[in-house]
């Protein structure tokens, strides 16, 4: 990276092709390649929902995905949400949480959009008994509850870093006590509000979450690569706010908890972020 770019930033900085390829590779997966390269075998419009109206796509030689088309982002506030689907996957991949199904951006039938690997046999949290209803017996064993609690903590921590304003029972999947974060188009917010599915303020951060975050935080080159990859998808302000949050959260990770009054620490006016 040139010194001038490092010093002053460049919102639309384009890397030379060779450098881009090199920087994209370290964590790209076989699943991403399948989503990117396989030919479409069939597709079906998914009915219902208010926006994006995704398409279910089956690929030749196995595999399926949820395709969100750029052209269906009709409201101004939705424009670019498909890119955030990919950006959230990349952030998750670099953090090592394994929450977001593989997500790529590609063209299908002349339309650009995000394709996220379909998770078969999954339920949305809205269809699952994560907590027993009033007067009902718990349906999960102690081990299942512990495993699920760790997954939910990871999700909360992830949404906190990405300042997601839209996490609820309709956009997270549960399958065999594993959580999948889907519908990530409202992530990488700057300073409006943050809406998690559940809250773990003042709760000790589990070791697994600490380890994953610290691994990412201490991986200097990884952070630079992620910044470059995110910069291809998001506004410079959105990327800057994410990395500013990483710095704030690192201090909390060292302390061992994220305090309840820390929510305001995640809001940044992009104009005053230190460069």
């Amino acid at each position: 990276m040139k010194f001038v770019e490092r010093a002053f930033g460049s919102p639309k900085r384009e890397l030379p092709k060779e450098e881009t390829e090199k920087r994209k590779n370290p964590l790209s997966s076989a699943e991403e390649e399948i989503l990117e390269m396989r030919e479409k075998a069939s597709s079906k419009d998914i009915i219902g929902g208010c926006s994006s109206r995704p398409v279910f796509v089956e690929f030749k030689d196995d595999g399926a995905g949820i395709f969100k088309l750029s052209s269906r982002e009709e409201k101004l506030e939705h424009v670019g949400n498909y890119k955030k689907e990919r950006a959230a996957y990349l952030a998750d991949r670099f953090l090592g949480f394994g929450l977001v199904p593989p997500t790529v951006i590609r063209e299908i039938d002349g339309e650009i959009g995000s394709v996220q690997e379909f998770v078969p046999d999954a339920k949305t949290a809205a269809e699952a008994y994560l907590t027993p209803a009033e007067g009902k017996e718990p349906t999960l064993t102690k081990e299942q509850k512990q495993s699920l609690k760790l997954e939910l903590f990871k999700l909360w921590f992830f949404d906190y870093l990405l300042y997601n304003r839209d996490r609820h029972g309709g956009n997270l999947l549960v399958k065999e006590n594993k959580i999948y974060a889907i519908d990530n188009g409202w992530t990488f917010r700057k300073n409006d509000f943050y809406w998690p599915f559940c809250r773990f303020f003042d709760t000790p951060i589990p070791q697994e979450v600490k380890d994953a975050f610290e691994r990412f935080y201490s991986w200097k080159e990884g952070k630079e690569i992620l910044r470059d990859l995110l910069s291809e998808l998001l506004d410079k302000d959105e990327v800057d706010c994410f990395f500013k949050r990483v710095e704030v959260v690192e201090r909390f990770v060292r302390q061992g908890t994220i305090p309840e009054n820390a929510q305001s620490a995640l809001k940044f006016d992009p104009g005053i972020i230190e460069k």
Partner: protein, 85 residues
Amino acid sequence: MQYVEFYKLKNDGSQEVIATCGMKDGVVVCEGDEALIENLAKDGILDYSQSPPQKIFPKEGPRFLEQLKYNFKSGYLNASEIKEK
């Protein structure tokens, strides 16, 4: 009567109606998938017409029905527009 259908995405890409919520005597009554209905009653949904959004519950009536499609839009479980029958 006004009502909303919930469409569950199946592994082959087809969708099936697993629940409906409709107005009955001024309140929303839901039928179908037991866990979904219990969670709607217990956890509510988000009202995106407010900023920041607020939790609303079936007792809110038409507003609850109207907001379902904004909450269930991922593809895996989608809510329909309000229908009439």
